[in-house]
Symmetry: C2
C-alpha cells in the first residue's frame, strides 16, 4: 500500500510534462512538438508515452491547464499584495510581468493557443482568461462601487492591454520590460480615469433626467 509504483508513474508523468515545457520554451511551439523527442528528454521509450496520455493533444491540454493553474496562483499573490496596501494597478501589473518573466514557456503556450488551430485549445485558454476578467470585475464592483456594466467594460479593456503587453514582454530584455511595465501602468491609469469620468457623465445625465 506504499504506492511505490503509483509514485513512480506520477514521477515520469511529471517528467513528460516538464520535458514538453522545456522544449516549448526553446524555439518550437506546441504544434511542432514531437512525441518522440518529448519521450527522449523524459528518459523513456516513445511507446511508453501512451501509458500516460492517450494523445499528444491530451498532453497539450494538460499543459494549458497547468498554465491556468499557475495564472490563478498569480492572481492570489496579486490580491495579497493589494491587501498589504499600495496601488492595485501597480501591484497587478508588476505581478503579471513577473509571472511572464518566470513562466515564459507557459505564457507563450497560452498566448499561442489562444489564437491557435485547435478549437479545444482556444476554448481552454479563453476559459482561463475569462476567470481572470471575472475576478477583476468583482473587484471593481465590490471595492470601487462601479456598475456591473461599466466594470465589465473596464475589466475587459484592462485584461486586453495587460495580456498584449505581456506578449511583447516575452521578446524584451530586462530594460525594455521595465519600460513596458511602466507604460502599462500609465495606460491602466488612463483607463481608470476614463471609467471614472464615464461614471460621472452617467450620474449627471441621471440626475438631469429626474
Amino acid at each position: 500500500m506504499a504506492g511505490v509504483r503509483a509514485a513512480q508513474k506520477e514521477k515520469t508523468r511529471r517528467a513528460l510534462i516538464q520535458a514538453a515545457m522545456n522544449q516549448l520554451s526553446a524555439e518550437h511551439g506546441y504544434a511542432s512538438l514531437s512525441l518522440r523527442e518529448v519521450a527522449r528528454e523524459a528518459g523513456i521509450a516513445p511507446t511508453s508515452f501512451y501509458r500516460h496520455f492517450q494523445n499528444m493533444e491530451e498532453l497539450g491540454l494538460t499543459l494549458v491547464d497547468e498554465g491556468g493553474l499557475t495564472l490563478r496562483q498569480l492572481l492570489r499573490q496579486s490580491r495579497q499584495q493589494i491587501a498589504k496596501g499600495g496601488s492595485i494597478i501597480r501591484a497587478s501589473v508588476t505581478t503579471f510581468m513577473e509571472f511572464v518573466t518566470n513562466n515564459t514557456a507557459i505564457f507563450r503556450l497560452l498566448l499561442q493557443e489562444k489564437s491557435g488551430n485547435s478549437r479545444d485549445f482556444r476554448l481552454a485558454v479563453t476559459r482561463e482568461v475569462e476567470h481572470f476578467t471575472a475576478e477583476l470585475v468583482d473587484y471593481l464592483v465590490d471595492e470601487q462601487q462601479f456598475d456591473r456594466e461599466l466594470a465589465e467594460l473596464q475589466a475587459d479593456a484592462i485584461v486586453r492591454i495587460v495580456f498584449s503587453a505581456g506578449a511583447d514582454a516575452l521578446d524584451a530584455d530586462a530594460k525594455e520590460r521595465q519600460r513596458l511595465t511602466e507604460q502599462t501602468i500609465a495606460q491602466l491609469r488612463v483607463v481608470a480615469r476614463g471609467a471614472e469620468a464615464t461614471r460621472q457623465v452617467a450620474k449627471t445625465r441621471e440626475s438631469a433626467a429626474l
Copy 2:
C-alpha cells in the same frame, strides 16, 4: 516580348500564394503547412515549388507581407471614412472589424505569427503593427493636439485593445461580432475620456507650478 512565359509564371506564383491562404483559413496554421499539399492545390508538382520560392519560410514571409499590405489598405479606407465626417472611433473600429471578417485567413496568420516561433516572422508582424500605431499617433498629435508622449500612450493602448478584440472576432458569429464591435467602441471612448482627463490634470499641474 509579349511575356507569355513571365505571365504564366506570375500566375502560378499567385496560385501558390492563394493555395497557401486557403489552407491556412481552414484548420491548420503556417507551422503545419505542407509544401506538397500547397503544390497539389495550386495544381503543380511538388518540385516545381522551388521555381517560385526558395523555402517554405520564404512563402510564409510573403504571406505576412501581403497581409500587411492589405492592412495598410484598410488604414486608407478608414481615413477616407473619417474624411466623410462622423466619429473617428466608430469608423476605425468598424473598418477594422470588416477587415477581420473579410480577411480571416490573413488576420489569423498575422495574429499567430505575432507570438509564433520564428523570430523573423515576429519581427515582420511587429513592424506592421507599429505602422498602424504610428499613423494613429500622428492623427492624435496633428488633429487632436495631444502631446506626443500622451498620444503614444493612448495609441498603443488603442491598438492593443482593437487587435485583441479582432482576435476574439475570429471565432465569433455575426451577432457576437456586432456586440464585440460596440464594446470596443465603448472602450475606446473610455480611453479617449481618460486621455482627455489626463491632459487636463497635466495642464492644471503646469499652471499651478508657474
